[in-house]
């Protein structure tokens, strides 16, 4: 019962943590190597979880075709293709899509600041989600114990 109510929340938290790590790798590529976005994505793809790696690689592959589509359009398209799963909230996807619209317009410092701001918001979101998850887990455990007790009483 606990697993049913808490499983998706737990997976979402894990996903956000991996997303944070992915952007930290991208930020470091931009900071230390002044790498462009596609190169940063390729580098990060090698150092991140399979699901996020697939997302980054598909963005890079589509970008390489140079068929006139902007990077933002490709980013939005791939966010929808790769992450429309049950445990990821719609607001999470909207924020990730919105981030894509802010990529590439700024000087290096601004670009790093925007990515850092996003990861800070992710951290806050993770903290809130962990609190909520802990609370829901506790409640569902209590509810589970209570339901078990009721069943025992009924059987008796």
């Amino acid at each position: 019962m606990t697993e049913h109510y808490c499983g998706d929340r737990k997976r979402r938290i894990e996903w956000m943590k991996k997303l944070c790590h992915m952007f930290q790798v991208i930020i470091s590529e931009i900071t230390y190597k002044k790498a462009d976005m596609p190169d940063s994505f390729l580098f990060a793809a090698d150092r991140t979880d399979a699901e996020l790696s697939e997302f980054l690689l598909s963005v890079c592959e589509e970008w390489k075709k140079k068929n006139g589509t902007t990077l933002h359009e490709i980013w939005a398209q791939k966010v929808e293709e790769c992450f429309t799963k049950t445990y990821i909230k719609k607001t999470d996807l909207e924020q990730l899509t919105h981030l894509g619209e802010q990529i590439g317009y700024q000087d290096r410092e601004m670009q790093i600041s925007i990515l850092r701001l996003y990861t800070e918001e992710l951290f806050r979101s993770i903290e809130e989600s962990v609190k909520t998850y802990t609370e829901v887990k506790r409640i569902s455990r209590v509810a589970g114990v209570f339901a078990g007790a009721v069943i025992v009483v009924l059987l008796i």
Partner: protein
Amino acid sequence: MDEFLKLFPGSIRREFERLAFDIKELEEVRIRVGQPVFIHYRGKEWAVCKSGELESYQPDHSYLSFSDSDIKKIIDYLCDFSVYSYEDEIKKGYLTVPGGHRIGLCGGASMEGGQIKTLRYITYLNIRIAHEVKGVADPVMRYLFGSRHVHNTLIISPPGLGKTTLLRDIIRQASDGTHANKGYKVALVDERSEIAGCYHAIPQNDVGIRTDVLDGSLKAEGMLMLLRSMSPQIIAVDEIGGTNDVHALEEMIRSGCSMIATVHADSMEDLLKKEIFHSMMQKHFFTRFILITGKCRMERQYQVYDEELRELYHTPFRLVTDQCS
């Protein structure tokens, strides 16, 4: 044509898709904010109509033009949406893109300490289409090689007659070797990415199998670095002119390296008027000179001279088309 269209994002690409031209004869595309788009094609300037047709500019006609936001979209697209990553190139005023093509940039400069820090607003583009012409150096190669060495060679030409194209082909043939000569280790200082046309330090033009390219470096520093690190037999540079360049050249020649270089001048007399080169000639640094003269890129002549300025060879040289403006 595909390679040219890939330079542009979707909406702007569609404007150029209407144009019907042979990319091999396209030299330049000039985009100026709010002004007609001009192309230099087959040695002539053409204004681009909105229908895609080309015609000589007429003041009362309406032509294709782009706004500042369109030009910004082009720049963002060319820079892989990572303009910060191309700060150094933008500061120098150009971008090199896959295919070796160069995009000259102009607009609002931001100054710091008396130097250009960056271009804050880019509102003018000069898209120069790279044309690699293999074999253009065939008539002159045999005059550049001695029995056991390569002559220090200076290519002299006014702008627009294919001096860089000739240099590139000489480098390629010297590097690959020919039926008459073995291949040499060539080191190339490509300050403005015009010869090898490097994109992410990968040459987009064929400069030979034994050529090491230092892209984007100042000539003098680059020559010294290559001499120390790559043990070249030949060092090649484009457009020498400053005192630093000449001093570095002297050091290369003294070290035993052969040099191939180019310089801007209309004629030998014009070259000798410059004190720096007059001094070099007196010291016999160069033992071969190739003078390029002509009416335009399509019709030009090569004249090869020895160290005593005796003519060894000359011929008119035509490319595929002999159209001339």
